[in-house]
């Protein structure tokens, strides 16, 4: 005899959740989130602002006024929809592309620019911002999120740890370990995989034989959801429900958001025309999260071109001011870097501190 494959029927269990279709129409009435008109407008404002931020960041990077930058255009619904479901006290563990969530969680814009340039002050989260700075080691944030979530649980807080990675990141050992730990401890964690179809040049099909990343949650015994990552309402609602379960002691959730980055992987010389077709770009542009949410809000008389232009102008002004503030930040000295290493400096750093103090005083 031959046994039935456990994979049979698995794809149907991870069907993509959508609330708003590409034309901005509600396709899943029962799932529409309970958001006020003000909330809906605020969500749109944040998405537009973040699109402008991406465009300006790319321009500023090209002018040499920013350093490391990982474009975000296309992922606004995925990034901001998940973030909008959080509370201020929730703990954020972003990956390198997740600067927008940090900004909306409270990191001042000029500090985000300092992070890009490579200045330690960019990473000094304000006291009321519960977040780590963007993680460069793909997967490290996942095991750390399990620890943060376990900590929140042990402290009896009604809060969650949320962390992000990409489709490539789901191939890392730490991705599996982090989710497995959180599952074993039933810790309040939300793991978001933003499947933007490519890990630099490698398409998601080459990462795994699994048809979805969401189903990887089954390996560790936690619920996994596949969501239309270009649909901000669906992303918000699925995250909101994951948060509810987490703070009610029901453990972690994996959320895969199906999304796309319109730009290159980073601004460090990646050229997407080498691995992406125009056809593919066109297809995903039709699914633009801003276009469909704009249509939805316009149909409810909540949004207009005028409002959008106000947001765009305000964003540009704030970005200009933030860059100026970043420019005025004191240059880093070796003595600063030494002083950040330990609470009490060991002898070697004490010696080097003296050495560099003298150099810097010349």
């Amino acid at each position: 005899m031959s046994f039935k494959s456990p994979l049979e029927g698995i794809d149907e269990q991870f069907e993509m959740i959508q609330i708003l279709n590409e034309d901005g129409e509600i396709v899943n009435e029962d799932a529409v989130p309970d958001l006020s008109d003000d909330d809906l407008v605020e969500l749109m404002r944040r998405m537009v602002y973040t699109r402008v931020l991406d465009q300006r960041s790319i321009a500023l990077n090209r002018q040499g006024r920013l350093g490391f930058y990982a474009p975000t255009a296309g992922q606004e619904a995925s990034q901001l929809g998940t973030h909008f479901a959080l509370e201020k006290e929730d703990f954020l563990l972003p990956a390198y592309r997740d600067v927008p969530q940090l900004i909306w969680h409270g990191l001042p814009l000029y500090q985000a620019f300092l992070f890009s340039r490579g200045h330690y002050h960019g990473n000094q989260m304000p006291e009321d911002v519960n977040a780590l700075s963007p993680q460069i080691i793909i997967g490290a944030q996942i095991t750390q999120a399990a620890g943060v979530a376990l900590g929140l649980k042990r402290r009896g807080k009604k809060n969650v740890a949320i962390t992000y990675t990409g489709d490539g990141g789901a191939s890392q050992g730490d991705f599996y370990e982090g989710m497995n730990f959180a599952g074993a401890y039933q810790a309040p964690a939300i793991f978001v995989v933003q499947n933007n179809q490519f890990a630099i040049s490698v398409p998601v099909e080459k990462q795994s034989a699994a048809k979805t990343i969401a189903q990887k949650a089954a390996a560790v015994g936690v619920p996994g959801y596949l969501v239309d990552g270009m649909d901000v309402l669906a992303v918000y609602q699925v995250t909101k429900e994951a948060r509810e379960r987490a703070i009610n002691g029901e453990g972690p959730t994996l959320i895969e958001t199906m999304t796309y980055r319109y730009g290159p992987h980073t601004m460090a010389g990646d050229d997407p025309t080498r691995y992406r077709t125009e056809d593919m770009d066109d297809q995903w542009e039709k699914r633009d999260p801003l276009v469909r949410f704009r249509k939805y809000l316009e149909s409810k008389d909540l949004w207009s071109e005028e409002k959008e232009n106000e947001v765009i102008e305000a964003a540009k002004e704030e970005i200009k001011a933030a860059i100026k503030k970043a420019d005025s930040q004191d240059k880093q000295k070796v003595t600063d870097l030494i002083s950040l290493m330990h609470e009490e400096l060991p002898y070697n750093l004490q010696e080097q501190m003296e050495e560099y103090k003298e150099k810097e005083s010349k």
């Binding site: 990473n123 000094q124 080691i137 750390q144 620890g147 929140l152 950040l340």
Partner: protein
Amino acid sequence: MAQMTMIQAITDALRTELKNDENVLVFGEDVGQNGGVFRATEGLQEEFGEERVFDTPLAESGIIGTAVGLSTQGFRPVPEIQFFGFVYEAMDAVSGQAARMRYRSGGRWHAPMTIRSPFGGGVHTPELHADSLEGLMAQQPGLKVVIPSNPYDAKGLLISSIRDNDPVIFLEHMKLYRSFREEVPEEEFTVDLGKAKVKREGKDITFIAYGAMVHSALKAAEELEKENIDAEVIDLRTVSPIDIETIIESVKKTNRAVVIQEAQKQAGIAASVVSEIQERAILHLEAPVLRVAAPDTVYPFSQAEEVWLPNYEDIVEKAKQSINF
């Protein structure tokens, strides 16, 4: 005072800190109900509960990553890596993450964790249990690396490590766990990190050792005494940062030094001790600073440990080389 083995002194230090600070959490593979594979955490879960002392899934990177996360919530994690040969699984979490936490966040976050782990040869363990990998850790800015050689130091250094607000790697030599007992105060006390100890005063040559090699160095010193060679033996106790002052003071007195480690010659930390001595005391040297270390091969198959591991005879030989230079 009580007579304790090193393992009992370690358990005692853990108990002391679990009692003193409710933020201290002890976790790892089999450290809970089982009390650890070496009984280092024996009875702690029973005394302090599963919230404070708990088992983890079998995944070293997950263990240390979890510890990093817990530290953001004000906890003081004391995770265990069952054998230090398994640290490769967690190298990013240790060196790429925990060690850099304070610096990368500009001081906003820090990782007050102590990673305990057994290592060391002479007890015929299977592959990748006994390897001396302290050299890897010592090269990572942001970490302190502590290696006690006796029960008294083990307790005092472990309490200091746990109280330190930055990450400490606390390496426990398996051969020393139960090899002898000594008087250890039952009350709490600390031994400063970064401070060596002169275990035997001498005037002819300085031996700088750590871990199990401290005992080999002391035995070598006894042998040399028969030939009227008076060796001073320094136990580093902390191998990163090293206690330069104590080393240089001794070398200036004896004018000769041998640095002794169990690790391979290309590994360990002996080379950096030699460099420090030549930078700071070259005009006081009557002979080159020599090293006793293992051959630069992979750690031996267990039956070959005896011929491979450095021992007191190797130290005697190097000492004579130095004296007769």
